[in-house]
């Protein structure tokens, strides 16, 4: 039985046209025209308890809108949402008790107060029983090493420290689902890694279902088992990460340092995608030609110094899906 079921979900917005030019913008004081934008357009998916899902897409692709509908902030234009047997926008309060939400760009903590005060306030807001609160606080502060700055005002924390506190704040009431909107935005490499590891552990140890939206595909690659890609309001991919690589990641890249600058390079079954001095980038499809065949060809015709083969990064794959659409 899935924990989240979304069927034919759509959200349409009216967008008023801003007219350019002095007189035209003046006339828009009197009347305005609008367009309908389909932010989310007939989206269906379901999630099982304990899944860890990356929900990705470009800016304005509709990921925040979907999250807002799942959390009960937005009412869908049409379609059906079932979260733990609740309809989020109708049973907003019941729903919020059972979910945790982290907005990466905006802290939910009390800016000028010590971190611990925010936790105490949330304890009251969510009516968390004392023993559960204590237990959870201990658990998270050990796991995320919050102890050193629990009594520091939030405004003095670094971005990474603040994110760790925000994660704790979202989980203190033992939510069954955790929504994260860009949780690693602006963080440095170490802090990002910390957040990722934490999400994996929380998911594994507490069976929390995690949905995260992100720009950083490393998040997805390192954290999620499943990936949903949305573009212009429609889901264009939903499946495992390995399956994605399997399907779209057949292209390999061979980077070769030539011994001298050959003026003309001729190879069969290979695309020369880039050239920088003596270094060339060769792309090939591993179903039509194997790496060894390419190398044999290459060494037969040119003198080479060094070469490396790289698998495509997930970022590369997603970019390609965006460009071409799914086939």
């Amino acid at each position: 039985m899935p924990i989240i079921t979304v069927e034919h979900l759509s959200k349409h917005f009216k967008v008023y046209k801003r007219r350019t030019g002095f007189w035209r913008s003046l006339s828009s004081t009197v009347s305005r025209r609008h367009d309908i934008i389909k932010a989310v357009d007939d989206v269906s998916f379901s999630l099982d308890r304990g899944e860890l899902v990356g929900y990705i897409g470009a800016n304005g692709a509709g990921k925040s809108t979907t999250i807002k509908m799942l959390t009960g902030i937005l009412v869908p234009s049409s379609g059906h949402i079932d979260v733990m047997g609740l309809t989020p926008y109708r049973q907003r309060k019941e729903n919020t008790r059972r979910i945790g939400v982290v907005f990466g760009q905006r802290t939910q903590l009390w800016w000028d107060l010590p971190v611990i005060d925010s936790f105490e306030l949330l304890k009251q807001i969510y009516e968390i029983p004392q023993n559960l609160y204590k237990q959870n606080l201990e658990f998270f502060s050990e796991m995320l090493q919050l102890q050193p700055f629990l009594s520091t005002p939030v405004r003095r924390l670094s971005l990474g420290q603040r994110m760790r506190c925000d994660l704790t704040a979202a989980l203190l009431h033992d939510p069954e689902i955790l929504y994260l909107d860009e949780p690693t935005i602006g963080l440095d490499v170490v802090a990002k890694e910390q957040v990722r590891q934490f999400l994996r552990e929380v998911n594994a140890e507490r069976q929390v279902t995690v949905i995260l939206t992100t720009h950083d595909l490393n998040d997805v690659e390192k954290v999620c088992q499943r990936l949903i890609i949305i573009d212009s309001g429609k889901i264009i991919y939903d499946g495992g990460i390995n399956a994605l690589k399997e399907r779209y990641g057949k292209t390999r890249m061979l980077i070769v340092d030539l011994a001298q600058g050959y003026s003309d390079i001729q190879l069969e079954g290979v695309d020369l995608t880039r050239r920088d001095g003596n270094r060339i980038w060769l792309a090939f499809d591993r179903d039509t030609i194997s790496a060894s065949e390419v190398i044999v060809q290459l060494t037969g015709r040119y003198e080479i110094q060094d070469l490396t083969i790289s698998e495509p990064e997930i970022e590369e794959i997603v970019r390609r899906i965006y460009e071409m659409g799914v086939h």
Binding site: L74, V101, R106
Partner: protein, 268 residues
Amino acid sequence: MVRRYFKLYCLLAGAYVRSRLQYRLSFGLMCFGIVISEVCLLGLLGALLVKFRTVNGWTWAEVVFLYGLGNLAYSFMRILGSQLDDFDRYIIRGELDGVLIRPVPPLFYILASRIELIHVSRALTSVAIFVVAFHLTEIRWTLEVALFTLTTIVSGTLIMFTLMLISATVALWTTKSGKLTDLLISATKEATAFPVSIYPLAVRLLLTFILPVAFVTYYPAQQLLQKGEFLGMPESFQFAAPVVALIMLCVSYLFWCSGLRRYHSTGS
């Protein structure tokens, strides 16, 4: 249930006060600024009354009484409803989303998360003005008068609060409402300072039925000052402030709910 919300209110409001007290200099400056601006306004009113002595048959002591009464309601409203001052930032900066993910009624959460002690300085100034005016108008202190005054102040606070709520709610449609709220509140506060009898019928009707601030000072003052000046309105209006407050509470709350529904469907 009530106890839980009372406790939560105290905790949230307390958190705001503690945040605020981290900036003592700024807090002090603000209090000082408010007191000075109150004194300046009173100075203006004084300058006017010294010159003219009476306003439409109201002695200057009676006008100061009206001013004090209106100002008291205004100060309490500012203490409790401060969050509505710049409510549009909740929408512009997306903070309303953060409110909607909490298992608490949004309006309660928003109001509770700020209680502005700065305006206590204004309230204290107003109390001082009111006490002096009370003395000058030679109203006899009885238990009834005390209760009536108290009810009047509470109702007045609520009426002003509901106007503020309505204008803040407009932001749920227009995204911006800051200036509007400022203006509406200052305009209505200004209107409470003088006897409504100076205005033509249309404005009187406006201040009685649409922006019912006449019930904050003017009508109750009929009872307290025994003016008997009703200008064709029912005499019972002098006791109607609590009823008006109640109606306004319902109206503004319904308006708020419809604003929130609209936010739920547009998210901006």
